[in-house]
């Protein structure tokens, strides 16, 4: 199956290995060591790490469209937030009559606004399966409609980036309004439990952290499967020479639409896992600044590698946590400086510093069975071929 193909890649195995070992380590240090032990991981830290993993999944989604398709989305926060709101609506309905006003059906903010019935779009969110579908469907549909219009009219480059900014900005303004029925600028909060588990217990928090880790792993595998397929190579072709790709018979706008929708859905999943861990979703997640920040994580980590996005998201957000603790006002300047330094001195991002783990190319030799064959072979470092390319005599002979 195409989806399981990445599992035989060395780089994917390494990524998943490191992720699972980290998850295991956190679990052991959290559960087995007594509080007060020097190496004990507190529930607070577990949730913080869970938040980083949500950001990492979001960054992977952005890298899929930016790194491999060349679409610089400055509005992926919108898909993240929509997934988050879908989850938030489920969590609100889980509160039931335990709210401040004790209304069995209406969330507190609706009672406060004197609404007497649940709006139609809040129906169904009392069921977890429905919420899960909406987590994928809401961002996916928005991406489908938006992408259909934009790609069909061949909007690309800076213009597309600007429209994605406008999209998330417009949604932010809309969600700020109380009449929209999403809690206005307070958003949705005061959640009690998820799937019947109390959100305040350490066990639930650990569970959410682990679930996020698994979601990141699955999201990574999905992206890797796309990127390593022929469609992934078509995406790169669209990124580098869109018109040329069309003349080969590929429907560029459909390729873009497919990858964009997949990316939006992954962002939605990240948002959905983020909300129960931070305990709130409000319109600030739609802020254009947040979407730009995501792009900065990816740029810092290294574009078009996927694991670079993960590294970037985790490192930048860790730095943000540390920095805002010491000098909250300086964070944006620090981020800006970091961005400038990395783009100047490390154009390939942090991932560019790592030892090369390139996938083996398909068809290394005519007898090769396909991807996964001879993983140790790196054509770029094959001295035979390198010499070949440099020697003019050889060139004459081969052409």
């Amino acid at each position: 199956m195409w989806l399981t193909r990445p599992l035989s890649e060395r780089s994917t195995q390494l990524f998943l290995g490191i992720l699972f070992i980290a998850m295991l380590l956190v679990t052991v240090l959290h559960v087995a060591l007594p509080e007060g032990h020097a190496l004990h991981v507190s529930a607070y830290t577990v949730t913080l790490l869970g938040k980083y993993l949500c950001y990492a999944l979001l960054a992977v989604a952005v890298d899929l469209v930016w790194g491999y398709l060349g679409i610089l989305s400055l509005g992926h926060g919108a898909f993240f937030a929509l997934g988050g709101y879908a989850m938030g609506m489920y969590l609100m309905r889980q509160i039931g009559d335990r709210g401040v006003y004790g209304d069995p059906l209406l969330p507190d903010f609706m009672v406060f606004l004197n609404w007497d019935a649940l709006p139609w779009y809040w129906q169904g969110f009392d069921m977890a399966w429905f919420a899960v579908i909406m987590v994928l469907l809401a961002p996916g549909l928005l991406a489908l409609v938006f992408g259909f219009l934009a790609f069909r009219s061949r909007v690309t480059g800076v213009y597309l980036s600007i429209i994605t900014q406008a999209l998330t900005f417009a949604l932010m303004l809309a969600f700020f309004r109380n009449e929209m029925g999403f809690g206005g600028n307070n958003g949705l909060t005061d959640f009690k439990d998820i799937l019947g588990f109390n959100l305040r217990t350490d066990a639930t928090r650990l569970g959410l952290f682990l679930a996020t880790g698994v979601a990141l792993a699955v999201g990574y595998i999905v992206c890797r499967a796309i990127v390593a397929s022929k469609l992934g190579r078509v995406s790169i072709a669209c990124r580098d020479a869109e018109a040329r790709t069309r003349f080969l018979g590929y429907r560029v706008e459909r390729v873009q639409l497919f990858v964009f929708v997949v990316s939006a859905m992954l962002a939605g999943v990240a948002g959905a896992l983020y909300v129960p861990q931070v305990g709130i979703i409000n319109p600030s997640e739609f802020s254009p600044l947040f979407s730009i920040e995501i792009v900065v994580w990816v740029a810092l980590g290294g574009r078009a590698t996927l694991y670079g996005a993960v590294i970037g998201a985790v490192l930048v957000n860790y730095a943000k946590t540390v920095f805002t603790g010491i000098m909250p006002d300086a964070w944006l300047f620090a981020l800006g400086a970091l961005f400038v330094l990395v783009t100047v001195f490390l154009p390939k991002g942090i991932a560019g510093l790592l030892p090369s783990l390139r996938r083996p190319k398909v068809g290394d030799d005519p007898a090769a069975p396909g991807p996964g064959h001879d993983p140790g072979y790196d054509p770029d470092h094959d001295p035979d071929q390198a010499a070949d390319a440099q020697s003019p005599a050889n060139r004459e002979a081969t052409v």
């Binding site: 796309i226 397929s229 018979g249 060139r395 052409v399």
Partner: protein, 274 residues
């Protein structure tokens, strides 16, 4: 009722069953038919009432001074530019003016660009893989597998264009001439019925030019080839019929000797430098 009885003839292919991308029909005429085509860019007529036909299996050279509209003509055939008036048909069945670029490519019209455009970040092997005639929709591309057959086919073309040793290098490292060859290789992978080749030998050495001439001549017959070229020596070496384009319309047509002796041609074109 007659409709139903017609349906019972299982060996018949009905019109409504014929897919839009049905094979090109050249039984009753040329493979490419352009008539009265005019294109205006901001009031400037780049193509002016151009009429041109290419027969099935023909090798046609098109020459003309800079700005004559040669590249624009290819843009029209491949769906990149829409003309203001005129008609363009591929065989007797396909009206190219109603089709998109990918559709036209899938019908079997391949194109090599004047400025070689290969996918520089992809390897030479992958460039050829993408060009290969296959189901190019999204999901088939996602699940496509590299079969021994496809690898053989790519290897075959790699040998033809002499890039076997470099097949896993990024296409970006190639020299101008090698990129031209890679583009020709990509054309071959597409297995088109009609090849539009825009200035194939620019940046090539004498030797490389000879091999290109050989390759293009060998293709003609099985496929139809339209070559736009400035290099007169090259045109002379491959040309059977030459069309001279000037200010967006056909100035002369005939063998190389005929057109190079045509006073009008000498005046506007050959007279300039040669």
């Amino acid at each position: 009722m007659s409709f139903i009885s017609e349906l019972s003839h299982r060996d018949r292919v009905f019109d409504f069953l014929t897919p839009t991308l049905s094979p090109v029909d050249v039984r009753h005429g040329p493979i490419l038919y352009m008539d009265g085509v005019t294109v205006t860019f901001d009031g400037f007529r780049a193509i002016n009432d151009l009429s041109l036909t290419i027969d099935d299996g023909e090798l046609r050279c098109i020459i003309g001074p800079n700005g004559a509209g040669k590249t624009t003509m290819m843009d029209i055939i491949t769906g990149k530019t829409r003309p203001d008036t005129g008609s363009v048909w591929f065989g007797s069945r396909h009206n190219l003016l109603t089709k998109s670029e990918p559709d036209i490519a899938s019908l079997g019209i391949g194109r090599k660009f004047q400025k070689p455009t290969v996918f520089e970040a992809l390897s030479i092997f992958e460039n050829l893989e993408l060009a290969m005639s296959a189901d190019k929709r999204v999901f088939p591309s996602l699940t496509a597998r590299m079969t021994g057959e496809t690898i053989d086919r790519i290897e075959e073309v790699l040998t033809t264009v002499g890039l076997t040793r470099l097949r896993h290098r990024a296409a970006g490292i190639l020299s101008h001439g090698q990129k031209q060859w890679l583009e020709i290789g990509m054309l071959l992978m597409q297995k088109p019925r009609l090849l539009l080749v825009d200035e194939p030998v620019a940046g090539m050495t004498e030797q490389e030019m000879e091999r290109t001439a050989e390759l293009l001549t060998s293709l003609a017959g099985k496929q139809s080839v339209v070559v736009v070229e400035h290099d007169m020596g090259f045109v002379r070496s491959i040309a059977r019929t030459v069309t001279v384009l000037h200010q967006g319309s056909v100035l002369a047509e005939g063998t190389m000797d005929q057109v190079s002796n045509d006073p009008k041609v000498i005046e506007v074109y050959l007279g300039e430098g040669a």
